[in-house]
Symmetry: C2
Amino acid sequence: MRVDGRPGQVTGSDDTSDEAWEIPLVALAVDLAVLTVRDGALQVMLVERGIEPYRGMLALPGGFLADTTEDVDRAAARELAEETGLDAAGLHLEQLRTYGEPGRDPRGRVVTVCYVAFVPGLAAPTAGGDARAAAWTPVDAVLRPRAELAFDHKRILADAVERARSKLEYTTLAATFCAPEFTVTELRQVYETVWGQELDARNFHRKVTGVADFLVPTGTRTSGQGGRPAALYRRGPAHLLHPAMLRPPGPKPPAASRTS
Amino acid sequence: MRVDGRPGQVTGSDDTSDEAWEIPLVALAVDLAVLTVRDGALQVMLVERGIEPYRGMLALPGGFLADTTEDVDRAAARELAEETGLDAAGLHLEQLRTYGEPGRDPRGRVVTVCYVAFVPGLAAPTAGGDARAAAWTPVDAVLRPRAELAFDHKRILADAVERARSKLEYTTLAATFCAPEFTVTELRQVYETVWGQELDARNFHRKVTGVADFLVPTGTRTSGQGGRPAALYRRGPAHLLHPAMLRPPGPKPPAASRTS
DNA sequence: TCAAAAGTGTTTAACATACACCCATGA
DNA sequence: TCATGGGTGTATGTTAAACACTTTTGA
C-alpha cells in the first residue's frame, strides 16, 4: 500500500491479499439542519438551489468539502457561515448521521455527513453570504406528506427534528434556542413548540428553576407587557438535565421519522 | 455540472459560480465496534492488522467500500461478515458517528463511518472468514491509559462504549447481548457488566418483568445449578424501555469518553 | 378594580430504593 | 436440613401531575 503524490489519494491492497486495487473514492458533502424557534413554530433554514439537480427546489444548506484536506466538522461550520451568515462559534452544532445510499444523488456517488444546529430565534433572520435565498421555514410545512425537498433532505430533516425533540428531554439545549437573557415562560414556549404540546406552566417553572446550574438569575426583570414582570435568566454551565424533562405521553406532534 | 462516465465520479461548479472545479474525493471506510458480554466483562472484537500502517497492532474490524456503488450500511454488514464471521441479519447494528479528521490515517484522506453492533455472548467466539486474527478483548484492557489501538480506534471504541451504556437506559437492547432464551439474572448481569455497578436483584426483577412487551415468558425454567430454577424469557417486541432504567449515581465505571 | 401573567403551596399518584421474607432446587 | 439462588411484599423517599391560590404589573 502506498500514498500518491496527490493529497488524499490512496491506493492499496486488501488486508488479505497482496493484489493491488484502486480504493474507491467518493464525493463527500456536509449538510446542515439549522433549527430555531420563531413565531411559535419550529423552523429550519432552507436555501433555494441555484443549479441542477433539483434547481429551484428547496434544500438544506450544505456542500462538498472545499478540498481533500478539509476537516469534516470544519466544513460544516464553513458551510453554515457561507450559506446562512451564521457564525458557528458559540452556537450548538452536532453531527447527526451520515447518509450514504448509492442512489441519493443523481450526479453520482455522494455521501453526506449531516449536522444539526440549534440557534436562537433572533439570529440572522435571513442569510447574507453566498446563498441564493436562505430563509426560515416552519418544519411542519416541510414535513407535510406532499411537500418535497431536494435529494433525501426531507428524511434528514425528519431525523434532525426527532433528534432535537429527544435532546430537550435530557439536556439543557432548549436554552440555545433562546436569546442570551430569557424568561422561564420563553423557555417553556421552546419546549411546547418543539414538542407540539402544552406543558403546565407552574410545574415547569418549579422544575426548571430547581435544576442546579441550568438557569442563572440575572437579577433583572421584564417589564411592560401586562401582567407580573418575569425574572430574567442566562444559560448556566449545566449541559445534562437531571432529573430529565420527559415528554408527556399522548397526542404525538405532527410528522417525524424514527431513528434507531 | 456533469457526471463522468466513471461511476461515482462527480465534477461540477459551486452553487454560486459557474467556474468548474474538481470536486474533492475521499476514501470512505467503515469501522465496527462489535460489543458483547462474555465472562463477566464487556468485550470488543479486535483484529490484528496484517498490513501497514499499524501492521501488527490491534484495530477495530473494518475496511474501505468495495466499490463506488456500495451502500455504506451494506459495507458495514459485509465487513462484519468478512472479518468476524457474524451475520448482520438478526443482530443489532447501528451507525455511531463519522470520523473525518484529515490526519487520522497516515496514507492520506480517509473518512470512516463507524457502527456499533451488539451481539450475544455465545456468538462466534473467534472469527472464521477473512480476518488474520479476530478475537474478543475486554474493553477495560483496551481503554486503559497506556493501551493503544491503530488509528483513532481507541477514541471510537470509547464513544461506542458510552453509546452502549446509555442505550441500556432507555431501550431494550440489553437483551441483544443475551442468548435467544435467557433468565432475568442473565439480563441483570448484562446491565451490571456494561455499567460496571451492581444492581439490586430483587428490584431489577420486578422492574424488568413489569415493562410491557420487554420479556416474553417461554414457560420453561432452568435447572441444575443449585438454587431455585429461574424462568426463561425471550425478547419481546418492545424497543423502548418505559419507564427508563436509570444508571444509579455513584462510582463511575472505568474509562470512557464524552460524546456530545 | 379587573385582567393577565408570574410564581408558590398542597395533594395525590407513580416510581425508586432498601431490605425482610418466602420459594424451590441440589447436595 | 442447609446452602444457594429465584422471586414477592412492604415501608419509605423522591419526583411528577393537577390545580387552588397568591403576587405584581398595566389598563
